[in-house]
Every structure is written in structure tokens, then in C-alpha cells.
């Protein structure tokens, strides 16, 4: 019997103002999934994730969580920081916010919370930056800080929006190792243009361009990808890892 999906998005339609961004999108995320969401800029990838997270309410359709995931245990790493970098907080304090829990809202952070932050910072090579102000670190470092903040929450599902967009090769390796380890326990959903970077981990690919163009790990042919990206796309398959094709996508 097939495993019951953890999250089911059924016939989601959503837009901003009068503009429809997602139309009739149905998508399931399984426990243990590593789903890459690809598609052109403005195609609705981030919006879809925000709908799944409950940050946006769809115009029609519904998102069903088949397993109860505790509030505060949904990890989310946005593509861009959603805060003012001038806010007087240090890197360690930003990551510590990942340990916030509705039930312990009135209680101070514990020694365990701080130990967990120190461990994640070390894992992501951020220990030296712990006392730096978030304004004083680079874009790539900030992205790793946001990843650390999501991971330190011990999430039961993790969503990452373009996590490899501005980090160097070494940091990407560290991130890949971390995601691989997390994916042994929890499903991971990654919005990316860089499928090759995460290829060994990706189990399924969903192409979103307003509609869900392809899904369920079906073989991607050039026509489908052109449909997804709204233009010519080169598809290069170079071997397979665990039965999953590795693909390089280049927009012409």
C-alpha cells in the first residue's frame, strides 16, 4: 500500500490582486520526500510554498495535513530575509529565535536552546560569526544563518527557498550533508533553479509555472520543461543516483 502523503495541496488557486499566480495546483508531499520545486521566476514556486505553510490562504482548494505537525516545527528558509537588517540583533540571537515555541513563549530561552544553537552554528561554519550583527555579514552568510534558524527548531518538515543561490561551494557541501542527514528523518522541500547541486538528494521534481506542469518524478522531456519554463530549456542527463536522474537545466 502506498504511503499516505504528509501534506496534500488539492486544486490550489491563488493570486495577488487580480492576477492569478497559481491555478488548480494539486501536489502531495510524502514522509521522507525530497521534493525539488522548479520553474521560471514569477511562476509561483514561492507562493506555492507559502500556501503550503499556511502563510497565504488560497482563493480555492485546500491544503490538508494528514499528520499533525506541531506548530513551530515547520522549518522555513525564505529566499530573501523578511526582516530589517538594521534590527539590533546578533547572529546567535537570530538563530535562537528558531527555538521559540508557542507553549514556552513566556519563558526565557534555556541552556539547551543555546547549546542547540551553538551546535548548528558550528555545523554550518558560523561559530565565528555568532556575535556579529546580522547587518555586518555577507549575503551568503546570512542565508546560512537563516538555514541555521530553521534547522535549530528541530523541524518535522523543512521548506527551503533557493538555499544554494548565494553560497559558495564549500558551504553548499556542508548544506548538502546537513540536508541529507535531515532527510533521513523528515521531508525536505526545496525551491531551486540548481537541481544539479542537490541532485543526489532529490527524489522528485515538481515544475510549477502557474500550473503544476509535471510532477511525480516523471521523466522530464524537453517539451515538458519548455512548458514549465515558458521557453527553450536544455536538458542534460548524466547518470543516475539511486534511480533518480541528474539533470542540468540551462535557460537559453
Amino acid at each position: 500500500m502506498a504511503e499516505r502523503p504528509l501534506i496534500e495541496a488539492r486544486r490550489i488557486t491563488f493570486g495577488y490582486g487580480a492576477e492569478t499566480v497559481l491555478e488548480d495546483v494539486t501536489l502531495a508531499i510524502d514522509p521522507g520526500d525530497f521534493l525539488a520545486i522548479i520553474g521560471p521566476n514569477g511562476g509561483g514556486k514561492t507562493t506555492l510554498v507559502k500556501v503550503l505553510l499556511g502563510l497565504l490562504r488560497p482563493w480555492s482548494g485546500e491544503v490538508i495535513w494528514n499528520a499533525p505537525i506541531r506548530r513551530g516545527r515547520m522549518g522555513y528558509v525564505p529566499q530573501f530575509s523578511t526582516f530589517d537588517k538594521g534590527f539590533p540583533l546578533r547572529v546567535s540571537e537570530v538563530v535562537l529565535m528558531g527555538r521559540m515555541d508557542r507553549r514556552r513563549l513566556l519563558l526565557p530561552y534555556t541552556r539547551q536552546d543555546r547549546a542547540a544553537v551553538a551546535a548548528v552554528l558550528e555545523r554550518l561554519g558560523l561559530t565565528a560569526l555568532a556575535r556579529e550583527h546580522v547587518r555586518e555579514i555577507s549575503g551568503g552568510q546570512l542565508q546560512r544563518v537563516l538555514i541555521a534558524r530553521a534547522v535549530v527548531a528541530e523541524p518535522e518538515i523543512l521548506f527551503l527557498d533557493e538555499p544554494t543561490a548565494s553560497i559558495d561551494a564549500e558551504s553548499r557541501d556542508a548544506l548538502t550533508g546537513l540536508l541529507e542527514e535531515l532527510n533521513r528523518r523528515i521531508p525536505v522541500v526545496v525551491i531551486t533553479h540548481d537541481v544539479t547541486g542537490l541532485a543526489p538528494l532529490v527524489r522528485r521534481i515538481a515544475c510549477v509555472n502557474r500550473r503544476l506542469v509535471c510532477h511525480e518524478g516523471a521523466e522530464l522531456d524537453p517539451h515538458t520543461l519548455e512548458d514549465a519554463y515558458g521557453g527553450p530549456v536544455e536538458l542534460v542527463t548524466h547518470g543516475a543516483v539511486s534511480g533518480v536522474a541528474q539533470r542540468i537545466l540551462h535557460r537559453h
Binding site: 523578511t82 539590533p88 513566556l106
Partner: protein, 282 residues
């Protein structure tokens, strides 16, 4: 400045100093949130929106302060609960409250039979005319603000810093945002009638800006902001007494001078005080 200390034998001067200190402390802890959330316009908007409540209370023969507080609470709750996806700009909404409140106030004053009071005088309090009752109200407000910040510090900081992440974490964002805005709104409306809008805006912005230039962590900024507020309030009152200057402007100009001095100092040093080793230690 022996003359200034001699003046403290007068009750009005003692009350002015106490009111100034309470205002400085309140603005010192609330101001940094106003600055980092870019809500400086809120203080101006609320002061004029409160005019509507005061006008209504005047018409109904009630204490205008009640009307001002009711409007402040209404605006805070409305701003906290409003759907930010639909209303894209806090600033614009505050502008609406600004205009509508003033309009409502003018209508009520116009419809009140007999002598039409100049309610605008409520907006320009005089720190030298502070009564014991005013001091009691400010003390109550200060206790309330410290209690709220003490209890909800973690959540309020999280919501003020990153609302989106706080929502994903399951933090009650709207409740905490409403709490933060209520705290700011009540501080603004009550202080305005005691020390005047100009001094409130100055104390809500100058000390936090200095704190933000000097330190990296929010608690430190609150502490510096409070200390700067207290310093410029006492110093300004002293200067006001010594040189026969109006008290509010003396406080504000001293604050502006300090702000410029810290800014210039930072530029000349090529770095912030926060890079000094002694201040980097926890």
C-alpha cells in the same frame, strides 16, 4: 547648577523632573521598537487621531483623556489585526486615522453648544504644569509597559524582527503585534498630554537612534536609549532653568546635539563603539 537644585524645592519643578524622567524611561524602552519598526509616523498620526476621541468626550461631557485612550486602543488593535496583504502600508493607514480622527474631533467640537474649546492645546502639554494625578497615570503606564515587555519579551522581539518567521513558528503574531502597538499608542497618547507631542516624538526617536548607533543588541539599545533620554531630560531642564529657555525645546536641542556628536564621533572613529572589546563581552 545650584540654582536648578534649589528650584527642586518647588513642587512644580519636582513634578516636571519626575514626569520628564518617566517620559524618558517610557520612550527609552518603547522608542527602539518605534524606530526599528519604522513607526515614527504613528506618534504623529495617533496624536491627531486621538483628537476625535477627545472631541467626542467633550461633546458627551466626559474626560477627554478617556476618549484619547479609547482612540489609541482602537488604532492599535486595528493596525495589529489588519490584513497586511490587503492593506499594504501601515503608514498610509496611520494617515487615514490621522485625518479621520481630526475630522471627527472637529465635527464634535462644532456640534458642541456654547464655547468651542481649542482641543489642540491638549496636544501641546507643558512639562512644567504636570500634576500629581498626571504623574500617577504615567507611573501606572510605566509599570504596565515593563510588565508587558518582561512577560512577552521573546515574542514581541520575534514579531518586531521577523513577522513571517514568527508566524511559521506558531507565534501568535497578531496578538503580540497588537500588544506592541497598544503599548506604543498608549505611551504616545498619555505622554502627549503631559509633555507635549514635540517632546514625545523627540524622546521616541533621538535616544533610540543614539542607542542603535552605539550597540548591536536590543537590550543594550533599550538601556542606552533610556539613559540618553534621562540625561537629556535632566540636562535640558537644567539648561532651561539656568538660561531661561522653554523646557521642551531645551531638552530636544540638547538631544539633537548629542545625536550629532555621536554620529560625528562614529564617523571620525570609522567604527562604532560596539567594536570596543569591553562592550563586546556579554
Amino acid at each position: 547648577m545650584p540654582g536648578f537644585f534649589d528650584a527642586l524645592s518647588y513642587e512644580f519643578m519636582r513634578n516636571a523632573v519626575l514626569a520628564g524622567l518617566l517620559a524618558a524611561v517610557l520612550c527609552g524602552v518603547v522608542g527602539p521598537f518605534v524606530v526599528v519598526k519604522r513607526l515614527a509616523f504613528l506618534s504623529d498620526g495617533l496624536s491627531h487621531a486621538a483628537f476625535g476621541g477627545m472631541g467626542a468626550c467633550f461633546y458627551l461631557h466626559l474626560d477627554p483623556l478617556l476618549g484619547a485612550m479609547a482612540v489609541a486602543l482602537f488604532c492599535a488593535v486595528a493596525l495589529g489585526l489588519v490584513d497586511t496583504e490587503t492593506i499594504r502600508s501601515y503608514d498610509a493607514l496611520i494617515g487615514v486615522f490621522w485625518a479621520v480622527g481630526l475630522a471627527v474631533g472637529i465635527v464634535f467640537v462644532y456640534k458642541t453648544p456654547g464655547y468651542a474649546p481649542n482641543l489642540m492645546t491638549y496636544l501641546f502639554g507643558n512639562i512644567l504644569l504636570v500634576s500629581r494625578h498626571d504623574l500617577g497615570v504615567l507611573l501606572g503606564l510605566a509599570v504596565g509597559v515593563f510588565l508587558i515587555l518582561g512577560l512577552f519579551w521573546k515574542g514581541i522581539v520575534a514579531v518586531a524582527f521577523d513577522e513571517v518567521f514568527a508566524r511559521v513558528q506558531g507565534v501568535p503574531v497578531r496578538f503580540l503585534m497588537t500588544l506592541l502597538l497598544t503599548m506604543i499608542a498608549l505611551t504616545v497618547v498619555l505622554l502627549i498630554q503631559v509633555v507635549g507631542i514635540i517632546l514625545v516624538v523627540a524622546l521616541l526617536t533621538i535616544p533610540p537612534l543614539i542607542g542603535l548607533m552605539l550597540l548591536n543588541d536590543l537590550r543594550g539599545v533599550l538601556a542606552v536609549s533610556t539613559a540618553v533620554g534621562v540625561t537629556i531630560t535632566l540636562g535640558g531642564l537644567g539648561l532651561s532653568y539656568a538660561w531661561d529657555l522653554p523646557s521642551g525645546p531645551a531638552i530636544i536641542l540638547l538631544g539633537a546635539f548629542l545625536l550629532f556628536a555621536v554620529y560625528a564621533g562614529r564617523k571620525l572613529r570609522g567604527g562604532a563603539l560596539r567594536s570596543l572589546p569591553a562592550l563586546r563581552r556579554e
